[in-house]
Subunit: 259 residues, 2 copies
């Protein structure tokens, strides 16, 4: 990350020293470099093909981003293509949501994951190799506990358009119950002002995979009379399993894989 | 397709007049243009984002490729990125297959779709707007009945490596039973010399979606004692539904959508 790092550091420091959290939240533009991510192949590995393989769920159970793709993923995440890819997914979701005939009883819900779906941890990952470094829960939780994750702009836009349609929002996240307060405050600061439920992973589910834990939570929602109109996440484990909802949407995330 | 068309026409004509089917089969290189497909955004639409949306099953139920993406899809299909994207999927599949502990009773199978999975209809689609033109079954069947579809090189390579592992190959295709002979001959000519079963869509299933028809066929296979180790197709309808197999693989196809 020789080219990116000074720019990122400057941006992160600038954002952290403005003294205005509101300016920092709701946007991730400050971290963008000047150039987008092209499909330039690294020797023996097309990073664009790797990323496509991740998004289409062909490349699974990977631990870290291939070292050779660090610059590629960094430029992708900070450039225009990540935004455009997210926008395409969100546009499809909105057209779908607008086509629905809702029950009108307040039981039609839209399930959102949180990290890399509604809130962005890009300021953290930009300082930790964009997924090339192995996941470090201590360091990551220090970042989460700051409660400064900005909204993913396209997801926030979708959120703002789903509510007037009569859909209620339910967040299901792998964040632990101990992060409820910081997550609540972070969501509100980032622009997510209201929701039906915020479901965090209680200690009962520590040993469960994300697929199993999230399937159970969705099953409980349906038992309680909710109808899952849409289900959106950045991980396939958000939208695989059971009770996945009437339609699912996979937001891009080439930085990490959760099973 | 102003830039591509003369080159394609020349290539197709050249291929058709060599008199040697063997030269034409087993390769699709003759149709390649000089340049690969970049992610250059068309106004108001990123064709790269659209293609990613298709591959990640966010963009569904589409009838034709967006007009604005005809050149993009054409260059993609004929250029290096389609090959590289296919190669990545095939490499994942091979690593997975090599990790399996097979039963040794000849009941472990690999399910392949045919069109755009094992055989390529690119010579046809190159002359029909790469998916921009609505599907024309009469014209398409004339092409199929020629029996000249080349192998997808990466898939043929995978096929050749699966057999020595002890996996049997089963083809499940949406092609009708009436095309059994031409399909058998085409597969053989293209390099697929042996298989356990070739399952075509009998007239009983005409009204079934691909998802339903293929799920039933896989269920029957499992009832007959087969274990589906892998399942590979270019359409999500090849790998969604029930009895999908132990692991699924989605090959790229931005030219058409089958539900």
């Amino acid at each position: 990350m020789r080219l990116l790092f000074p720019l990122l550091l400057a941006a992160v420091v600038a954002a952290a020293t403005t003294g205005s959290e509101e300016e920092f939240l709701n946007q991730i533009h400050a971290l963008r470099p000047r150039h987008g991510a092209g499909g330039t192949p690294v020797q023996g590995l097309s990073c664009l093909s790797w990323r496509l393989g991740v998004e289409a769920h062909n490349v699974i159970n990977w631990k870290t981003v291939p070292q050779a793709c660090e610059d590629y993923v960094g430029h992708y995440m900070l450039g225009h293509q990540y935004r455009k890819d997210s926008e395409t997914v969100v546009n499809e979701a909105l057209v779908y949501a607008q086509s629905l005939h809702l029950g009108g009883d307040g039981k039609d819900i839209w399930v959102f994951d949180i990290d890399e779906t509604t809130l962005s941890n890009l300021p953290y990952y930009a300082n930790h190799g964009f997924g090339v470094q192995p996941y470090n829960s201590t360091q990551f939780n220090i970042w989460v506990d700051m409660g400064k994750a900005p909204a993913l702009p396209e997801s926030l836009k979708l959120y703002g358009k789903l509510l007037p349609l009569g859909l209620k929002v339910v967040f299901i996240t792998g964040r632990p119950e101990s992060q409820r307060n910081v997550t609540t405050n972070n969501l509100r600061k980032a622009g997510y002002h209201t929701w039906e439920k915020l479901i965090l992973k209680s200690s009962n589910y520590t040993s469960y995979t994300a697929v199993a834990y999230k399937s159970i939570q969705r099953k409980i929602l349906e038992k309680n009379g909710y109808r899952i109109a849409g289900n959106m996440g950045d991980q396939w484990s958000d939208i695989l399993g059971t009770h996945v909802g009437n339609r699912t949407f996979k937001l891009p995330d080439p930085m990490y894989y959760i099973s």
